[in-house]
Symmetry: C2
Subunit: 344 residues, 2 copies
DNA sequence: CCACTTGTTGGTAACGTTACCAATCCCAAG
DNA sequence: CTTGGGATTGGTAACGTTACCAACAAGTGG
């Protein structure tokens, strides 16, 4: 039986003495083996296997100029399946570059974001990917971040110039709204994030522009812009549909709002409640949208792709900060899936 | 303008000399300030702020016995929204304990899992949480892991005794299948993971037991046990429903298979294809299951809770390995949501 | 056979931090 | 006014690793 304590991780020294060489030779062997005799390499590797030795990456990265191999990723809401996909995209690219990701959830909390960023820097991350909360930018300034490159995803931070990956929020929302207008709707409700959230504002703008282009006024009574989760979205949808003059269609600015609205619509159908069964346009796809009892048009984009793109931007910045030039913004296109199109 | 290089992270020494004290006093101040004069503390903190100093956590954890504050989490499939929830649960509890999580995706690949675990250990994680792939357990043995506590989630590894958090797979599948039998179905198809996947096997067992208890034989023609993603599940469902003698109901052993089956059923409804519109029982909930065109009974559980539970088990082990005793298994209950029950 | 290159190995120091001990200071009690 | 004690401060060493240089061995060409 092995003892419960004392089974500390072995060190280079122990490997070296077991193999009968110096620590340097072990280090060299593990670094690729240049200028180490093959038979010596074999003895070293045998000792490594026997002791179950792993290099201490923290000690390695202590030496100046050595990268830690870590990427800090802070996300606003992991409970949203979109951000799971996003994290996956980042993880994939990071793994391709031999990096690991340190993951944190901010829950849209400003203080938590600051805390996470400090911790990430304290752990010597080689780069940061952030879906920022709407707060201020002081803790993200270059002078606070030192050398650490930063990429913002999904949202911009006012007054901060950094590499950014965005979606074509305005264009997508505009096209989605237009599709409702083309179908003859004129009274179109809006469900979305509060306007201090970057995407919430942009997506509202696309909706608003489409409406005014057709000479329609936006009726504030059927605009609800303060829902961050599914439950709140259901409540907002309910209030809207209970109006004497309810909307015949709803533009939903994100996944959480769409699910909430559809849950409310489903409830009304089951309960035989009166009123319209509004058509929906949803920014963000969701699984089985094609099976909904009301037509759902989807403004689709690939969160995983967004994650991959953010990571690519980060690595290109890390590889060569000079060549990458000034802050870049990548705006990823969105596609529109109409409900009558089936082959998804 | 700040120079592009040279803006290295400041160190204790620089803070100390700016504050006119020794590095030790800085360290003590940052550690809580016991036995440091208040006015000195203030000078130190001012210097910290001025320089934008962050403690180097890697250097800190280099000292023996010092925890790194990192938890390694390896997941099989981040693209499955369930694992996003799981990761969130782990992250929450880790954050409550002041720890960060290092996240990796194995994609059900054995080699990748080994690689991730090595890397995690090399980064001196204080603990490991793993949704294991079905491969062997050599790299997870205590003698390989050294002191690092391990918690398995969702699945067990054959021949490895470790703390484990499971769902009541067998019981849930049994009850779900019984609900179909009670509704009068006798020809019930099965969609699931390959049998080498722990949950795949357990969920099949629950299904099989329910069938044989009623004196029904399982017809291998309507049992498909090799689908790991939505696309494969659609194909399998299609083959099953195209039979001359198709099932009138389907038991789906996980989220991915359920989505695939429903996608195929939706296609048949739209295309007006002949054959049954099978009822579904789904292990794993999914959003808007109540709006599906066929009745969907859901065997529901909370992945976030699973993650929280796994993390709790890990921290209790870390706090006091002796008191925690031998390997423990926590089996979380599941609940069943019937399609006619609306108030979700 | 010698100078010279090439290949292989080891010793030393340094990365940033904090535990430990020693040194100093101030104040109060005698 | 001294002495003891607690509070405060600093110096040294060590954590595990690898870059750098020095040392040495073996081979090569003159």
């Amino acid at each position: 039986m092995s003892t419960s304590r004392g089974a500390r991780q072995p060190t280079v020294k122990e490997v070296a003495s077991l193999a009968g060489v110096s620590p340097m030779t072990v280090s060299r062997t593990l670094a690729g083996g240049t200028n180490v005799r093959p038979d010596v390499q074999e003895r070293v590797m045998a000792a490594v296997r026997e002791l179950g030795y792993y290099r201490n990456e923290n000690a390695r990265s202590l030496r100046p100029g050595q990268p830690s191999g870590l990427i800090g990723v802070a996300i606003t809401n992991l409970a949203n399946p979109y951000y799971g996909q996003f994290a996956l995209g980042v993880e994939e690219v990071a793994a391709e570059h031999g990096r690991r990701i340190l993951l944190g959830n901010t829950g849209e909390d400003d203080a938590r974001e600051r805390q996470l960023v400090s911790d990430f820097i304290g752990r010597q991350v080689d780069g940061l990917i952030l879906v920022p909360t709407s707060g201020d930018a002081a803790h993200l300034r270059p002078e606070r971040l030192g050398e650490v490159p930063l990429v913002l995803a999904s949202r911009r931070v006012p007054g901060l110039d950094a590499d950014t990956v965005l979606l074509d929020d305005v264009g997508g929302s505009h096209r989605g709204t237009v599709s409702l207008l083309d179908a003859g709707h004129t009274r179109i409700g809006f469900l979305g994030n509060r306007s201090s959230v970057f995407t919430g504002e942009r997506r509202y703008r696309g909706y608003e522009r489409a409406m005014t282009e057709r000479g329609l006024d936006v009726d504030p009574v059927i605009v609800a812009r303060d829902q961050q989760d599914v439950a709140a979205a259901s409540v907002a949808a309910r209030a809207m549909l209970d109006l004497a003059d309810p909307p015949t269609a709803i533009f939903s600015a994100n996944n959480r709002n769409t699910i909430g609205a559809l849950r409310e619509i489903g409830r009304r159908i089951r309960d035989g409640a009166p009123g319209p069964r509004p058509a929906i346009v949803s920014f963000d796809d969701f699984e089985l949208s094609e099976l909904m009892p009301v037509p759902v048009t989807v403004i689709d984009h690939d969160a995983r792709h967004l994650g991959r793109e953010a990571a690519s931007l980060l690595f290109s910045r890390m590889d060569d900060a000079e060549a990458a030039g000034g802050p870049r913004t990548v705006e990823l296109p969105v596609s529109i899936e109409y409900p009558w199109k089936t082959g998804r």
